[in-house]
Amino acid sequence: MKNIISNINKAFDHRVRLGIMSVLMVNEHADFTSLKELLGVTDGNIASHIKALEKKGYVTVEKSFIDRKPNTRYRATKTGRKDFQKHIDAIENLLKQQRPQP
């Protein structure tokens, strides 16, 4: 039981961060605008959550220009993917344990 709880990752314990990681798990990369549209939150909100994930080493940021417009791409790192999967597994295990048999 203790083990399971320790796998629940505080870094992902927010709806926006959860969303960002979910998108980056199934897409090679995503840009700022599409993340914003998918999650339906404000620029500043997304930026601060990405910064938090970046600090943890879970996402990388690539800035480039497409048609002379700045474009920012985000990718999940290997560690990010591994830890997020652990986080999902931990939640699933926790729910399984608390509801023994249906």
């Binding site: 998918l38 999902i88 608390q98």
Partner: protein, 209 residues
């Protein structure tokens, strides 16, 4: 309660993964229409062939009539264009209703992954025609269409995978029964489409309609 929050988290994760990687505005009704066009196309094809006393089961060049092949080719193109046109129209309409974008990363990815195998198949069928291996064209269409659907199913509703495998297997079987290939073609592109379209329409569209 903690528990509920985690249940909500899991469903958020799943929904976000799907919405960001799969194109979900595809209309089930489009499949029904495509199937209908295919059956009409097969009937017209049969009439054309009977009128000409030709058969398309032949693998030998001498027995084929060039003019009828051109007509069948145009017929097939017409069916394809009608099906695609209807699909685009219905899908755009559905996307508007549910406030989703029609042209975004998910739809681009879906189209690329659907058309890459499909266009290769189309070119391959033209090559079969070039070498007069007419009998193999209908089975090859089914096989390549099946592969295209299996490939595309990763980028939209997973339900397309079943339709893909069904067409693929049907195409392979059809290679062994060349005199019945028009019927196989009508079953694959017609009946299977309609069945799958109705299934998808009931599952995804009806509650929004």
């Amino acid at each position: 309660m903690e528990n509920e929050k985690y249940v909500q988290d899991l469903s958020d994760i799943k929904q976000m993964m799907n919405r960001s990687s799969r194109f979900i505005s595809l209309s089930g009704l489009a499949g029904v229409f495509a199937g209908g066009y295919a059956i009409i196309g097969a009937i017209v094809g049969k009439v054309l062939l009977d009128g000409h006393n030709s058969a398309i089961d032949s693998l030998s060049p001498a027995s084929m009539d060039g003019e009828i092949l051109t007509r069948l080719f145009l017929l097939a193109i017409a069916v394809l264009l009608l099906a695609i046109g209807t699909a685009v129209f219905l899908t755009t309409r559905k996307a508007k209703k549910t406030n989703e974008k029609t042209w975004d990363n998910t739809s681009k990815r879906l189209l690329i992954n659907f058309f890459a195998p499909l266009i290769s198949g189309g070119i391959f069928c033209l090559i079969l025609w070039q070498y007069n291996l007419i009998g193999l064209i209908a089975p090859a269409m089914l096989i390549f269409y099946g592969l295209a659907l299996i490939h595309a199913s990763k980028y939209t509703f997973g339900d397309l995978r079943g339709l893909g495998y069904a067409n693929l297997i049907l195409g392979l079987i059809a290679t062994q029964f060349l005199s019945y290939e028009l019927y196989f073609w009508a079953v694959g592109f017609g009946l299977f489409h309609i069945a799958n379209g109705i299934w998808m329409y009931n599952k995804y569209d009806r509650k929004n309609a």
